[in-house]
C-alpha cells in the first residue's frame, strides 16, 4: 500500500534539520525499497495555487490558510499497513520540529 507522508514545518525552523540528515534518511528508505518518491519543497511564498472554476483557470499565490506550519516536502512510501507507515513517518527528520501527515494514496479508477 502506498502512503504519502506530507511534511509540515514552521519555515523558520527549516535550518534546524540538516539536509544531509534528510538525504541519508531517504537513501536508507530507498535501499529498503520503501521509498517510491519524494522531494523537499521551496518555501511556501514560492507557491501557486491552481483552481479551475467555471471552465477557467484561477491562480492565487501562496498556500490556502494562514497557518504557521507549511508543506515543506513529501515522501511517497510503500508500507504494509498504517502501523508501518507511521513507523517510517516518525523517523522522517523534520517530524521532530514539524508534523507529518500520513495519507493513504488513492489509486485512480481509470477503468
Amino acid at each position: 500500500m502506498k502512503y504519502a507522508c506530507l511534511v509540515y514545518l514552521d519555515e523558520t525552523l527549516r535550518e534546524t534539520v540538516p539536509d544531509r540528515e534528510c538525504k541519508a534518511f531517504g537513501d536508507g528508505l530507498r535501499a529498503r525499497g520503501c521509498l517510491l518518491g519524494g522531494e523537499a519543497l521551496r518555501p511556501s511564498h514560492t507557491a501557486t495555487v491552481v483552481r479551475v472554476r467555471n471552465g477557467g483557470v484561477a491562480l492565487t499565490d501562496g498556500p490556502f490558510a494562514e497557518t504557521k506550519e507549511q508543506l515543506a516536502g513529501f515522501y511517497l512510501i510503500d508500507a504494509t499497513d498504517l502501523n508501518e507507515a507511521i513507523q517510517i513517518a516518525a523517523r522522517i527528520p523534520p517530524a521532530r520540529v514539524g508534523s507529518i501527515e500520513v495519507r493513504p494514496v488513492r489509486e485512480l479508477d481509470a477503468g
Binding site: 500500500m1 504494509t80 499497513d81 498504517l82 502501523n83 507511521i86 500520513v102 495519507r103 493513504p104
Partner: protein, 416 residues
C-alpha cells in the same frame, strides 16, 4: 419430555450470547472488513438456528460458526461477482485466508479479540471514535444503546462509527497486537478507553440514569477480558481500581441521587465481593514491575476499602501512595488529592497551605473540587467567611447537578 430441536435452539441462543463477539473478532481477521464480518456472523447464526435442530449441535460450536460465516461471506462475494469483474473477485477471495490457518478454538481466538481491541483503540482514530467502536464491536452494544449512554444523537454516533470503520479500511489500520516495543504505549490507549467508559458510567450514575446502559459494568467486563489477554501490571491495576470504586456505588448516593462523602458512607453497603476481587487484583498488579498509575490509584482505593470506619483510615499510607503517584504521573489534580490526604494526616492547617499554594499557581483555578477542598479545610479551621467564599467559587465552576446540590448543602450548613 425435552424436545431435542428446542434444546438445539436454546443451545444456539446460548452460544450467541456467550460467543458472538469472539466469533465476530475472528471473522474480522479472516474477512478483513467489519461490515462483511458482521453480515457473515448473522448468516452463520441463522444457519445454526436452521441446521442444529436437525443435525444436532456440533462438537465445537464456535469453530462451526467461524467456518460457516467465512463460507457464507465467500458465497456472498461470488454472488455479487456476477456484477463485478472476475479479476476483482479473485483478489477479494485471495485476500481471505484459508480457514485452516484459523484454528477454531483456544489461543488464536483469544488473540483475535485482542487484535480487535487494539484496532478499535488505535491512536490514529479520535478518542470518541475509539470509545464508540470498542463498545460497538467488542461489547456488542447497539449504536442506539451507545448513543443513549453518551447522550448523543444516534445519527451522529452512527456516522462517527461509519467514518472510523472507513478509516480502518482505507488507511489500512492492521488487525494486530502491537510488538513488544510498542505494546506499553498502545496498551495505555486501550486502558484509557476502558477507564473513560467506566467513568462515564460511574459519574453519571444518578437520576434518569436508570434507563441508560450500564457503562461501568461494560468497562469492568472489558477489564476482566484484558486481564485474561494481557496480564500486565496496569491491566490488573485498572480492573482493581474499577472494582474498588464500583464497590461503593450503592453507598455513594442517597436514594434521591445526592452525593454522600466517603467518610459519611455506610460501609455496610459496600460490595464485599467486589472489594475482595479488587484487593486480589491490586496484589497481582504490585507483583509485576513497573508499578503504574492505575495500580497506585487502586492501592489508594484499597486502603479506604480495608478501613473498618472512616476514622481508622491509614492516612500516612495514602499520603505515601500519592507521593509515588506524583512521581509516576505528575498532575495538579493528584497534588490536590495529596493535599487533602495530608490534611487528614497532619491537620487542616497543613492541607490548606498546600491547597493555597496550588491555587496560587493557577492550574486549578477553574476546577470546582479545588475550591471545594479549600472551603472544607477553612470550615474545619473555623474560618467561616473564607469557607463561604470558597464554596461560592466552587459552585461557579461545578457542572453536575448532584455535585451542585452537595456544595449548596455544605454552603447552607455554615454558621451564619
Amino acid at each position: 419430555m425435552p424436545d431435542p430441536s428446542a434444546a438445539a435452539r436454546v443451545a444456539a441462543e446460548d452460544v450467541y450470547r456467550r460467543e458472538s463477539r469472539r466469533v465476530f473478532a475472528t471473522l474480522v481477521r479472516l474477512l478483513g472488513d467489519f461490515d462483511v464480518a458482521e453480515e457473515a456472523l448473522h448468516d452463520a447464526f441463522r444457519a445454526a438456528l436452521e441446521q442444529w435442530p436437525v443435525q444436532g449441535v456440533p462438537e465445537h460450536p464456535r469453530a462451526w460458526l467461524v467456518s460457516t460465516g467465512r463460507f457464507k461471506a465467500i458465497d456472498g462475494l461470488r454472488r455479487r461477482a456476477r456484477f463485478v469483474s472476475t479479476e476483482t473477485l479473485g483478489d477479494a477471495l485471495e485476500a481471505i485466508p484459508d480457514e485452516r490457518a484459523a484454528p477454531g478454538d483456544g489461543e488464536e481466538l483469544a488473540d483475535d479479540r485482542l487484535r480487535l481491541i487494539f484496532t478499535c483503540c488505535h491512536p490514529a482514530l479520535a478518542t470518541d471514535a475509539q470509545v464508540a467502536l470498542t463498545l460497538r464491536e467488542i461489547c456488542g452494544l447497539t449504536t442506539e444503546e451507545i448513543a443513549q449512554a453518551f447522550l448523543a444523537r444516534p445519527a451522529a454516533l452512527a456516522q462517527r462509527i461509519v467514518r472510523a470503520k472507513a478509516k480502518i479500511r482505507d488507511a489500512r489500520i492492521p488487525y494486530e497486537v502491537p510488538g513488544r516495543e510498542q505494546l506499553a504505549a498502545r496498551l495505555d490507549a486501550v486502558l484509557r478507553v476502558v477507564y473513560l467508559v467506566f467513568n462515564e458510567g460511574y459519574s453519571a450514575s444518578s437520576g434518569e440514569a436508570v434507563t441508560r446502559v450500564d457503562l461501568s459494568t461494560e468497562a469492568i467486563r472489558l477489564g476482566r477480558l484484558l486481564v485474561d489477554l494481557v496480564p500486565e501490571g496496569e491491566t490488573f491495576g485498572l480492573l482493581a481500581l474499577m472494582l474498588l470504586h464500583e464497590s461503593r456505588r450503592a453507598a455513594r448516593t442517597t436514594p434521591g441521587g445526592d452525593l454522600v462523602r466517603l467518610d459519611e458512607q455506610d460501609r455496610a453497603q459496600w460490595d464485599r465481593g467486589q472489594i475482595a476481587e479488587g484487593l486480589e487484583c491490586v496484589g497481582r498488579a504490585f507483583a509485576r514491575e513497573p508499578v503504574g498509575a492505575y495500580t497506585l490509584q487502586a492501592a489508594i482505593a484499597a486502603t479506604h476499602a480495608t478501613a473498618p470506619h472512616a476514622a481508622a483510615t491509614d492516612w500516612p499510607r495514602i499520603v505515601a501512595l500519592y507521593d509515588l503517584l506524583l512521581r509516576v504521573e505528575p498532575s495538579p489534580v493528584v497534588e490536590l488529592n495529596r493535599a487533602v490526604a495530608v490534611a487528614m494526616r497532619d491537620g487542616p492547617q497543613a492541607g490548606l497551605a498546600l491547597v493555597d499554594a496550588l491555587l496560587a499557581r493557577g492550574d486549578l483555578a477553574g476546577y470546582h473540587l479545588a475550591h471545594a477542598a479549600r472551603a472544607d479545610l477553612c470550615r474545619r479551621l473555623g474560618r467561616h467567611a473564607q469557607a463561604r467564599e470558597a464554596y461560592v467559587q466552587a459552585l461557579s465552576h461545578a457542572r453536575q447537578a448532584p455535585e451542585r446540590r452537595f456544595l449548596e448543602r455544605q454552603l447552607g450548613s455554615l454558621p451564619a
